[in-house]
């Protein structure tokens, strides 16, 4: 029976070439889009899921209430891991991790001959037992036991020593905050896989970090590194969270934090919190892309449904005969489903070719290295998705066609045809509505990203180059600046301890006290030390008072705050007021206009600038337009001359700023392509329908022409029906898209308001596309010789 069904299906496919081509093309585009999105989604889901004890790995998070809003922090206290291991029996391992990359820091490493700048970690002894980063040399429980131990990646080992085995036992120098540290290589680990959120080239010990580098890490009143725990098996997490909630209170009388756990695997996908509640993160984009995949497949399925039911008249005879000679409804349903499944599997071949062809572009957009790997899971997904798509495509035509009575099918007198035409129209409206929602969304996201990129952030970010200050330059930046000042094209320069963009990491503090501070008020201020030229270089404006300058006596005793900080503190006439920073008295010298330290989509943060001339981490140089390249070459030469043995790595501030919108830009690019595809598939369906419609109305068209209708009149007659459907789609899509996009925009502190132009442009573009799509068929019918049409009848 199946053979018979497939035989008929195959012969039908060959005979109805337009129908087959439209469906195969639509379904293959739909399937290939779904496969690409599936590869991306599974890759995203795989992030951090390779750890052997992943189900027992948790990150300790801290909660505090600032101005009535619950804030979540992943920075924890240095001693926390030891306290967890000591006080909480359910903890098998607790590890402090100071991720320098997360803090925007990289170290210069030296083995006496070679120098490399790279990112790494300081971590507790159990790091390699807790996380599954396999060691090529060394044992996981031993490599971080000694304070001076440094474990390096196979990559770094190859760069520094030629091979992993030669690296073991060698000494290595690294520098942090201007102090050179010595380490001993105790192990080599395999390079962390791309799907790990922890990316590092070396791991030095926590002991070294808190005893010799960041001594504040020994006390409970400072936060910074992350703390991870590996729990014993079968721990009740609700009870565990209750147990650790007030743990810090046992050790610190000034504590304002409570603790809770977050699954380590949630770090990547569910990183966002709103007023203390986990609200998602990248998972939103994954769901969005999954939804788009389903939508595109559905649009392709609808093409099959519509075209199958549109050409139903061609199958009346077959259905009637089969029913007459004993074919049951079940048999016919099975036959039509076999046909759609066969067609979908044929489309699969083209879909796989499309996937292979588009993978490079897809990888370029997503920044991933995806590809068809034909793993068991992948094959299963591809085959099952194709089967389901085939069944969905065939379901409506199958049940519709198999329901005819044999007599009705044989005579062609069908009462249900009217209702199916309405259903078909409804499905076309759905296709265009879905495509329009995608197009409008893409346009709105595009506008928002453009707005974010162009909105003034309160400081100059164009033509500003930033680089790390190390060695002599860290200790005495002003001496280096005197050299750089001589370079043509350098128009300003300043120094700052850490990046001005908080996404790149950096310090913040609750340690500011001011007159009139209400007890219990907790404000997390971003704090940076700057020199007297930094604000001028970046064009940060003073609203009240003055900035740091050389005429000030003892500038270290002054602070400059931004307007947001003053507003949150509730200070009136702030300039000249005395405040306490970490117990030391300071005077407010000036108030800066607000500027964005993070994405412009985030609210403005309160900022404190303290003064420092030396021991600065970053230089910021303003370059003259069109002189950047030449100036940079000279800056690099001067830096290396001034600071031999150090690398010069620079970045442009505008590019660093734009990186914050990377995920939005990627989603935008993907969304744009998939929206085009959705429109294309919808148009394919419309093209097919127009072909069948004009064929069915051949006689009507001929009679009208014989009676005097012009070609233009026929064109209007035929196209009006289709345009009406698109217009209905526009009417339905507009409020849906508006609602969805309004909801998306509401997550940003600063966003565009959706303009009517977005709807007008997308609506007009869709109508035009639809007209162009149907034109070929409609014009052909309109200019055809009416005699031919009547003769055919």
């Amino acid at each position: 029976m199946l053979k018979n069904h497939l035989k008929i299906a195959w012969r039908n496919l060959k005979r109805r070439l337009l129908f087959s081509a439209v469906n195969i093309l639509g379904l293959s585009i739909g399937l290939s889009s779904a496969f690409l999105i599936y590869f991306w989604v599974t890759d995203e889901y795989k992030v951090d899921r390779f750890h052997a004890n992943g189900d027992r790995l948790y990150q300790i998070m801290e909660k505090s209430t600032e101005n009535g809003i619950v804030q979540i922090h992943d920075g924890t206290q240095g001693p926390l891991s030891d306290a967890l291991e000591k006080d909480i029996p359910e903890v098998e391992n607790a590890v402090t991790v100071m991720d320098l990359g997360k803090e925007g820091m990289s170290l210069t490493l030296r083995n006496g001959v070679n120098t490399f700048k790279s990112e790494g970690l300081f971590a507790g002894k159990a790091f390699f037992e807790t996380f599954s980063f396999p060691l090529l040399v060394g044992r996981s429980g031993e490599v971080l036991l000694k304070k001076e131990s440094v474990v390096i990646s196979e990559n770094l080992a190859a760069k520094l020593y030629g091979s992993p085995n030669k690296a073991i036992g060698q000494s290595i120098e690294y520098e942090m905050f201007g102090i050179v540290q010595n380490g001993l290589i105790s192990g080599i680990f395999r390079n962390p896989p791309g799907n790990s959120t922890l990316q590092f080239d070396y791991v030095a010990t926590k002991q070294k970090f808190v005893e010799d580098i960041w001594t504040n890490g020994l006390i409970w009143e400072n936060t910074g590194p992350q703390t991870y725990v590996m729990l014993k098996a079968n721990v009740d997490m609700a009870a565990f969270d209750r147990k650790i909630e007030h743990l810090i209170d046992r050790y610190s009388e000034y504590n304002t934090f409570t603790l809770f756990t977050r699954k380590f695997t949630d770090t990547y996908l569910r990183g966002n919190f709103e007023n203390g509640v986990q609200t998602g993160g990248r998972i939103t984009y994954i769901r969005l892309m999954g939804f788009i995949a389903v939508l595109i497949l559905l649009i392709a399925c609808i093409n099959f449904m519509n075209l199958s039911t549109a050409r139903v008249s061609r199958r009346f005879k077959e259905i009637g005969i089969k029913k007459t000679i004993g074919g049951t409804k079940k048999v016919l349903i099975f036959q039509f489903l076999s046909e759609s499944v066969l067609l979908t599997y044929l489309s699969l071949i083209l879909a796989l070719v499309l996937v292979i062809a588009s993978i490079p572009l897809f990888n370029f957009i997503t920044g991933k290295e995806l590809g068809l790997r034909f793993s068991l899971g992948e094959i299963a997904f591809i085959l099952v998705t194709t089967l389901i798509t085939g069944l969905i495509s065939g379901s409506y035509p199958a049940f519709y066609l198999a329901n005819f009575s044999p007599l009705a099918a044989l005579t062609g007198k069908l009462h249900k045809v009217g209702s199916v035409i309405n259903a078909r129209k409804g499905l076309v409206v759905f296709q265009f509505m879905a495509s329009l929602v995608l197009i409008i969304s893409v346009l709105v996201i595009n506008e928002q990203v453009r707005y974010a990129l162009n909105k003034p952030v309160g400081f100059e970010r164009d033509h500003v180059v930033s680089f790390d200050l190390e060695g002599k330059a860290y200790a005495e930046p002003q001496v280096l600046f005197d050299e750089l000042d001589k370079i043509e094209g350098v128009v300003g320069m300043g120094a700052i301890t850490e990046s001005i963009i908080s996404e790149e990491g950096g310090s913040s503090t609750y340690g500011l006290e001011w007159p009139g501070k209400i007890e219990g008020t907790e404000i997390d201020f971003i704090i940076r030390n700057v020199d007297e030229d930094l604000m001028k270089t970046l064009g940060i404006e003073i609203a009240e008072g003055q900035g740091f300058n050389r005429e000030l006596g003892a500038p270290e005793t002054f602070l400059i705050l931004n307007k947001e900080a003053i507003k949150l503190m509730g200070l009136k006439d702030p300039v000249g007021r005395k405040v306490q920073l970490w117990g030391e008295e300071k005077t407010i010298l000036g108030v800066m206009r607000d500027f964005n330290t993070a994405s412009v989509m985030q609210p403005i943060s309160p900022v404190i600038f303290a003064y420092s001339a030396n021991q600065m981490g970053k230089a910021m140089l303003k370059l003259q337009t069109r002189m950047e390249q030449k100036a940079l070459e000279q800056i690099e030469a001067a830096y290396i001359r001034f600071n031999p043995g150090y690398q010069f790595n620079f970045s442009f501030l505008d590019q660093t700023f734009e990186k914050q919108y990377l995920s939005e830009k990627r989603i935008l690019s993907l969304g744009r392509y998939f929206a085009y595809l959705a429109v294309f598939i919808s148009c394919l369906g419309l093209f097919g329908l127009a072909a069948f419609d004009t064929e069915l109305r051949n006689k009507e068209i001929s009679i009208r022409k014989v009676l005097g209708s012009t070609s233009l009149g026929i064109f209007k007659l035929l196209s009006t029906d289709f345009i009406k459907l698109v217009l209905i789609a526009i009417v339905i899509a507009t409020p849906i898209a508006w609602y969805v996009m309004q909801d998306w925009l509401s997550q940003f502190a600063y966003h565009i308001s959706i303009s009517w132009r977005v709807f007008a442009i997308s609506g007009l573009a869709t109508i035009l596309t639809a007209i162009v799509t149907i034109s070929f068929q409609v014009i052909r019918a309109a200019v055809a010789n009416p005699v031919k049409g009547l003769r055919t009848e």
């Binding site: 008929i8 012969r11 005979r15 005969i321 089969k322 007459t324 000679i325 409804k329 007599l407």
Partner: protein
């Protein structure tokens, strides 16, 4: 074999109700060859459709081989048709996508017969219909007479008790028409009951009995004395 009593069939549209059959009473015995005649729109095809269980009557009784079939559901009628009834249409109604062999094989597939048995039966019937040499051809590659022979082959391949023929020679020239009528007569002589709707006086002479319909009612019935005379 067929017992029809007070059979009525009406068609209703939004505004009009048309009575296609009005109190039809008839009996057709096993092995009989009956022709139904009458002008266009008199209800011939409607009656044939009801006898063929393609349609249900509005009122009255229709017994097929002793079983009441009026009011049966589509699924039950399909299962009763399967193997018991064979159809021959004016427009042949072959499936364009299937070859001659596959068209004839189709009813046997629905009867879930195994492949070897199917091949044997189909080959036999095609040889009998003198169309075996065309078994791999598609319908559009055949002449009208050949197509109707394939349609008859498909109708008889399951050895049905009853063959219903709706204007079987309507689309054929006289030579092919005669061939088709001779085939039907042969089948009838072998014991198959045949009910045929026709406009043609010539064809009606092949039947044992001619039933004349007018405005949905049987107006005359006549026995053919010259039965088989034209074979």
């Amino acid at each position: 074999m067929i017992q029809i009593q007070n059979l009525k069939k009406s068609f209703r549209t939004e505004e009009v109700e048309t009575l296609a059959l009005n109190n039809v009473n008839m009996k057709i015995a096993e092995g009989e060859f009956a022709a139904i005649m009458g002008p266009s729109g008199c209800g011939k095809s409607t009656l044939l459709n009801i006898i063929g269980m393609l349609d249900n009557p509005t009122a009255g009784s229709y017994k097929f081989a002793g079983h009441e079939v009026s009011g049966l559901k589509e699924r039950q009628r399909t299962s009763l048709r399967k193997g018991n009834l064979g159809f021959v249409f004016q427009s042949f109604n072959l499936i364009d996508e299937l070859t001659v062999f596959e068209n004839v094989e189709l009813p046997l597939i629905y009867l879930k017969m195994n492949k070897a048995e199917r091949r044997e039966k189909v080959t036999k019937v095609l040889e009998r219909m003198k169309i075996a040499h065309r078994e791999k051809h598609f319908p559009h590659q055949l002449s009208g007479g050949q197509q109707q022979r394939v349609a008859i082959a498909r109708a008889v391949v399951t050895h049905p008790k009853l063959i219903l023929a709706d204007e079987p020679t309507g689309n054929l020239d006289s030579k092919n028409g005669t061939e088709v009528m001779n085939l039907l007569t042969e089948l009838n002589q072998e014991g198959t009951t045949i009910v045929m709707v026709t406009h043609s006086d010539h064809d009606s002479h092949y039947a044992h009995r001619v039933i004349n319909l007018f405005d949905g009612q049987i107006v005359t019935e006549s026995q053919n004395r010259a039965m088989g005379a034209m074979i």
